[in-house]
Assembly symmetry: C2
Homo-oligomer: 184 residues x 2
């Protein structure tokens, strides 16, 4: 298949559509972010790229903490709302039911099936964005989405962000078991 | 919904199942990685967490370059193979059709609909893993997966890695348009 070149682009598939929770000037705030990933296992860590002018970056810098919340497809409109409107102009503290875990400054979204509490350990200046790396301090999962002690993607029904066409998708069919279907 | 706590865990949804391409001692090698993300837009950058004992890390350090290749669901078995077996023991240079772009040391997978060429700009020691940040130098997309000058997720049919149950999924239904369905 012939390839076309598109220059330096930010196209990766899939990307998540997560809610990053922070407290900014004591008000809980939630930003939608697709540029998040796991960064290490020991200690468990996660990364999120945050544009420098973002209200959320102010909260991260004030508190040194943040949360990553995995929404289900049913929350798509609220997630998109948090991606469109800045906390500088809209109070987003009443959109979701909020709870706190170990870290008292990282608001967690009750309606999101998976919540990670993170404590900042690195902030890397990458130009347009700061890449924030947080140690994962605690993981919360909605009880009805846990099978055999682990989160169950079918029950979580996570939202996917598709770059390029800028659409939200949900998970489809299972292809197979990882660390298994490729055995020779 | 009641929550259960699982301790510091690496559960995020969705995660990708990408092929990280490197040259190790002059041999092209491919590692499967789920802990990848976009890290910035200007300059365009991507991050990948690589365990310290990985053959791929050796290649990244030797060349200062790597590629991120987005496989379609049809490649699941080969992707899983690259995640099970180390390049230390298996020659993975003949699994895929390889091509090179601007960077002459980052092998790209012809069969993968999207390929990013990356040049290392940071390596962050996070304990178990090094978080490698690369500037994205060029993006290649298979011609039949481009619509209106952008990659089309429906045609790419990307592979998803689901942590917890360790399964591969494919994309399902479209939920809606981002930066749109949440407008008030």
């Amino acid at each position: 298949m012939k390839k076309v070149t598109l220059g330096p682009q930010t196209f990766l598939y899939p990307l998540p559509a997560l809610l990053v929770g922070t407290k900014v000037d004591d008000t809980p705030n939630f930003m939608t972010a697709a540029w998040c990933a796991i960064a290490a296992s020991k200690p468990a860590a996660a990364s999120v790229a945050i544009r420098k002018d973002r209200h959320t970056l102010k909260g991260v810098e004030q508190q040194g903490t943040f949360s990553l919340n995995v929404p289900s497809a049913a929350l798509a409109k609220k997630v998109d709302y948090c991606g469109i409107y800045s906390g500088k102009k809209r109070d987003k503290s009443h959109i979701f039911q909020i709870f706190y875990g170990v870290l008292k400054t990282a608001p967690l979204v009750q309606e999101c099936p998976v919540n990670l509490e993170c404590k900042v350990i690195h902030s890397l200046d990458l130009g347009s964005h700061n890449l924030i790396v947080g140690e994962i301090i605690e993981t919360h999962v909605s009880e009805n989405c846990v099978t055999d002690g682990k989160p169950n993607p079918k029950m979580i029904d996570p939202l996917i962000y598709a770059a390029g066409t800028s659409e939200y998708y949900r998970f489809g069919d299972i292809i197979g078991k990882a660390f298994n279907i490729g055995k020779d």
